[in-house]
C-alpha cells in the first residue's frame, strides 16, 4: 500500500478531500499544521490562513491517479506539497 501525504493551505481542504473520494480512497486523516516554504511562513493561528496535513493510505494505482491530478490540477493553484511512501497495512482489504 501507499501512504500519500499532502500538506496544503486550509482553503484547499474541501477540494482535496473531494478528490480523495473521486480517485477511490476509502478514508483520510487530517490535522492542522504550521509550516514554512517557498510561499513563506504559515503560522497556525487563523484557521482560514493555516495549513493542513492530509494522509491517505491507498492502493498503488489510486496513489498514481491521486498524485497525477494533484500535480496537474492542484499544484498550479494551491500552496501545497505531496509525497508518497510505502507502508505495510493491517486489513489491506479495507483500503
Amino acid at each position: 500500500m501507499k501512504l500519500v501525504t499532502i500538506v496544503c493551505e486550509a482553503h484547499a481542504r474541501d477540494a482535496v478531500t473531494r478528490l480523495l473520494r473521486q480517485v477511490g480512497a476509502h478514508g483520510w486523516t487530517l490535522f492542522p499544521v504550521e509550516g514554512d516554504g517557498s510561499q513563506g511562513r504559515r503560522p497556525a493561528d487563523i484557521p482560514e490562513f493555516a495549513n493542513i496535513q492530509v494522509e491517505a493510505v491507498v492502493k498503488p494505482e489510486v496513489a498514481e491517479r491521486l498524485l497525477g491530478t494533484l500535480g496537474s490540477e492542484y499544484f498550479p493553484r494551491y500552496a501545497m506539497i505531496a509525497f508518497e511512501s510505502d507502508v505495510r497495512v493491517l486489513r489491506s482489504g479495507k483500503f
Partner: protein, 326 residues
C-alpha cells in the same frame, strides 16, 4: 476640526490601540500569537453576541422597519462588484479573475469593522439602530456570488469543474460559518426578545467591548504579517484600498438615509458598504476562483482597507452622515 477630534478619540480607544499593538508585535517579529482555537472562539463569541443583540432589536422594532433598508443593503452589496470590477480591470490593468475576486471582497463586508463601528458609536453616545446587524448578515453573500460569476465568465473552465466550484461557492457563501452564526443568532434573538436578553446579557453584552479589544490585538498581528506584501500589490491597489471605501462609504450613508435609517444606522450602513471582507470572501473565492491570486485580494482588504476603516474610516463616515443629516 470636529473630525480631527473624532479621529483622535477613536485612535486613543483601547480597541484601536490593541490593534496597533498587534501590528507592532508582527513587525517586531515577537513570537506573540493567539492559538487558533482562541481566535475561533473569539470570532464565535463576537458573531453570536452581535447577532443575538440584533435579533432582539428586530423583535422590538418589528420587521416592518427593517426590511426596506435590509433589501437596499443587499442590493448595494450585489452592485458594488459591478462597478469596482471595471475599475480594477481597466483602470488597474488587473487580470480578469483577480479583478473579479477583489471586487467580490469589496462588495462583501467585514464583521469586525462593523462591530468596531458600533463600539465607536456607543463610546461617543451616538444612538444607532441595533438591528443594523441584519444588514451585516445580508450583505456578506451577494457580492461573493456576483464576483464568482464575473470570475467564471472571465475564466471559462471545464463546465463540470466550474459547476462544482460555483456550487461550493454558493454553499460556502450561504452556509459558511459566519453567515450561519449571524443569521441563526439573529433569528434566535428575535424569538427570545428582551426576556431572553436579560438572561444572557452579562455574558454577551457587558464584557463585549473588552473582548473586542483583545480580538483586535490578534487582528493586528494577522494584518501586520501582510504589511510585507504591500510592495507586491503596487500603488494602484494601495489607492484602490482607500479611495473605494470612501466612495462606497458615502454611498452607503446616503442609501441609509434614503431608506429611512437614523444618523447612527446610516453611518453603520456606510461602514458596511466601505468595509471589505477578509475571512468569508477569501474562503469562498479560494474555492470558486482558485486561479485568482490571494496576495492581491487579501493584502488590499486586510492590510489596507481594514486598518484604514477602523482608524480613520469610521469617524469619517460618521462625519459624512452628520453632514448629510444636518
Amino acid at each position: 476640526m470636529e473630525i480631527l477630534d473624532a479621529i483622535r478619540a477613536n485612535l486613543l480607544s483601547p480597541a484601536v490601540l490593541f490593534f496597533a499593538l498587534g501590528l507592532i508585535a508582527a513587525l517586531a517579529k515577537s513570537d506573540l500569537k493567539f492559538p487558533e482555537p482562541l481566535y475561533t472562539g473569539l470570532t464565535i463569541y463576537l458573531l453570536v453576541a452581535i447577532g443575538f443583540k440584533g435579533g432582539v432589536a428586530i423583535n422590538e422594532a418589528g420587521l416592518g422597519k427593517v426590511w426596506l433598508p435590509a433589501c437596499a443593503a443587499m442590493l448595494l452589496g450585489a452592485l458594488i462588484p459591478l462597478w469596482t470590477y471595471p475599475v480594477l480591470r481597466f483602470g488597474g490593468k488587473i487580470a480578469a479573475v483577480d479583478a473579479a475576486a477583489i471586487a467580490a471582497h469589496y462588495g462583501s463586508v467585514s464583521a469586525v469593522t462593523f462591530i468596531a463601528a458600533t463600539n465607536y458609536l456607543k463610546a461617543i453616545n451616538q444612538p444607532f439602530e441595533n438591528y443594523a446587524t441584519a444588514f451585516l448578515a445580508v450583505m456578506e453573500s451577494p457580492a461573493i456570488l456576483v464576483g464568482v460569476v464575473l470570475g467564471k465568465l472571465a475564466t471559462k473552465k471545464s463546465g463540470d469543474d466550474s459547476f462544482t466550484s460555483l456550487k461550493t461557492a454558493t454553499h460556502e457563501a450561504l452556509f459558511g460559518r459566519s453567515i450561519f452564526l449571524l443569521v441563526g443568532t439573529l433569528v434566535v434573538g428575535a424569538l427570545c426578545g428582551e426576556a431572553g436578553m436579560k438572561k444572557v446579557e452579562p455574558f454577551f453584552v457587558t464584557p463585549f467591548q473588552g473582548v473586542l479589544a483583545l480580538f483586535l490585538l490578534e487582528m493586528g498581528i494577522v494584518a501586520g504579517r501582510r504589511l510585507g506584501d504591500l510592495r507586491k500589490v503596487g500603488p494602484f491597489l494601495l489607492a484602490f484600498g482607500i479611495v473605494v471605501p470612501l466612495v462606497n462609504g458615502v454611498v452607503g450613508v446616503w442609501l441609509g438615509r434614503a431608506t429611512g435609517l437614523g444618523l447612527g444606522g446610516a453611518t453603520l450602513l456606510g461602514v458596511l458598504s466601505a468595509s471589505a471582507s477578509y475571512i468569508a470572501a477569501p474562503a469562498a473565492i479560494r474555492m470558486a476562483l482558485p486561479d485568482a491570486n490571494p496576495t492581491l485580494y487579501l493584502t488590499s482588504s486586510l492590510a489596507i482597507t481594514f486598518p484604514f476603516n477602523i482608524t480613520l474610516g469610521i469617524p469619517i463616515y460618521l462625519e459624512v452622515a452628520r453632514w448629510l443629516y444636518s
